[in-house]
């Protein structure tokens, strides 16, 4: 267990330029552009943030810290993207972090006024990791536009905690902190809804899963990896071989040593 934590610290440092203190919970912050993601980020972290670039990428990176229930948290602001199918550098950065950075929780901020479009991102994140908190932001604007959102129903549909906020007015932030705390410390476990695909896709996935499972050994959701392979996503295949190689190396060395 301890070795795993150490390993994650190294991955965060070397691949993402993020130095998390030991015992600090890492939370990734994802969302479409213009959903008030930065407002949420600022509201949670206050002035305790610092900005830079993702290593080797011209994409901005902001990190901030906050303390809740005497536990330290590190909030990592991912680039605003519509999806994480990785067609752009931004999407690739966001996807790689959620996938290989192993954050303790991923907070997905959605725009209440166009929930349908925003849900795509949440569903994609939920395919990668079960530790997801969904924040439906801009509730005040939705009210103005006479859009009503049934939050408990959404929570049931998604199978992950959903918090409604109006970050500009500070609405719902306390609940958000509490939920983030529960999810990242593992107090609250969720069972996210898995996407149902067309029969052709499902059949192809089923066909690939056994081989994928053998390769990635529970480090990633095999179903999701199979889907990316079917996408023909070259960038992902590069990422996966880079990151998995790094994590497999010590084990391989041990095996060699044992011989």
């Amino acid at each position: 267990m301890n070795m795993q934590v150490e390993n994650r610290g190294r991955v965060l440092r070397e691949h993402f330029g993020i130095a998390a203190a030991s015992g600090q919970y890492v939370i990734a912050l994802a969302g479409n552009p213009n959903v008030g993601k930065s407002t949420v980020f600022n509201a949670l972290t206050g002035l305790r943030q610092h900005t830079g670039n993702w290593p080797g990428k011209t994409v901005d990176n902001a990190q901030g810290t906050f303390t809740y229930q005497k536990k330290p948290f590190l909030l990592v602001d991912l680039p605003g993207t519509y999806s994480i199918l990785a067609h752009t550098v931004e999407e690739q950065v966001a996807r790689d972090f959620i996938c290989f950075g192993q954050p303790d929780a991923t907070l997905v901020v959605l725009d209440a006024t166009c929930l349908e479009r925003n849900l795509n991102l949440a569903l994609q994140v939920m395919e990668i990791t079960p530790h997801v908190v969904v924040c439906v932001n801009l509730m005040d604007e939705a009210r103005k536009k006479k859009i009503a959102i049934d939050v408990p129903a959404l929570e049931k549909e998604l199978g992950v905690p959903v918090v409604a906020t109006a970050a500009r007015r500070g609405e719902g932030l306390d609940t958000l902190r509490e939920t983030l705390y529960q999810v990242s410390t593992g107090v609250r476990k969720s069972k996210p809804r898995q996407l149902v695909y067309s029969p052709a896709v499902e059949k192809a996935v089923e066909h690939l899963i056994p081989t994928v499972q053998r390769l990635i050994d529970h480090k990633l959701n095999p179903r999701w990896v199979a889907l990316r392979l079917l996408d023909g996503d070259r960038a992902f295949i590069e990422s996966i071989s880079r990151h998995l190689e790094l994590q497999l190396n010590p084990k391989a060395l041990q095996e060699v040593a044992a011989l």
């Binding site: 199918l85 550098v89 006479k146 549909e157 079917l230 295949i237």
Partner: protein, 468 residues
Amino acid sequence: MSGTVKPMTTIATICTEADKIRLSSDNTLGDTIVSDIYANAEQIARKVVTHKKQGQSSWDTRLDDILTSRLFGYPIMLALLGTIFWLTIEGANVPSGMIADVLFVFQDQLTEWFTLAGAPTWLHGVLVLGLYRALAWVVSVMLPPMAIFFPLFTLLEDLGYLPRVAFNMDSLFKSCRACGKQALTMCMGFGCNAAGIVSCRIIDSPRERLIAMLTNNFVPCNGRFPTLIAIATIFVGGTFASEYEAVVTSLIITAIVLLGIATTFAVSWLLSHTILKGEPSSLVLELPPYRPPQIGAIIYRSLIDRTLFVLKRAVIMAAPAGAITWILANIYIGDLSILGHLVDWLQPLGYAIGLDGFILLAFILGLPANEIVVPILLMSYLATGQMIELDSLDELRQVLLDHGWTWLTAVCSMLFCLLHWPCTTTLLSAYKESGSVKWTFLSFLIPTLIAFAVCFVIAQTARGLGLA
């Protein structure tokens, strides 16, 4: 050590396996996955979101349904394009003539002053007949169409129509295995090919970016529009009843633009099946809400940023080019001017592709900026011959006819103008963006070969059939 090697090979095997499945289903799995995610999101949203009032969002959704529909999308695009050209051509005639009148009256005045001051003939030639006349031509031929075309184009941009164009064209680009964003860089190319090439940065895959850069030149930039419009107007003039002239001219220009777009697709397809092989990537394109246009901003952006910018560039290029052309035309080696020698030398090649030596030379001298091709051409036609007052398009037409222009010359000139090599600014941008001499050279070579090939085939066919 086998432990480190094994996972790599397994990845490779899985990839081959996945690729086999992917290709056996016609490469549609990626799209199916994306639309399935959307279907899931829609299903959830329907359960949890209630709209009390439909309000504003409904009319723009309905408008989007029409503008991006399979049935009406393309006809509407064509109609809008045609209308813009028609307004430009119809509207530019009168002010063009007026500006030309004023500027050429001033030329006479200048000539008088030069005579009064006892200036030598060569000085008057270089400065007035060369430099000033080229400037006057650039301004009177280019300014009015630009001052109408750019605001109209900017208006469409401001209304939010261009993203819809990109949306409509996405499937076409995809079937050429290129990126849908190429529609946007292509639209930028209508403004300026150099800007179009720089805008290719928005395309993330290097392969698709190169395709977009290599084909950007096939849409006429605003340096070439005036040339196309001038030639089309001159040659339609007189052949049709005057009330139809502008309509026919705008149809011709629209056809030329469509041909350019078709060439873009053809070359993209060819590239992605030969030297730039690969699969297209899909993208999420957000259709922004329609906005009421900001008239002030449109006028500022289109007139200051675009019209004056292009005009300034043209003037800076045209002034020395005019002077040089005059000098070339008036320095004699043997019994022929330098210009004459060059023209004679280029004549066989020019004739083979439906042009003549003068036109080909004008295109070559126009390499720094496409705007100055027509002024250079007229300068070289007129520099040696007798002085003619060019204050109307009819007389301009006479000059061209006197130099043996036929409909075939006009058609080939327009095609050559559409397809030929990019200007130096564009080449420079291509070099900066690709960082490679090889791709820059290809972005010169491909259009050049196509221009020569197309014009050659058309000219030879027309002559062979005895049409010209």
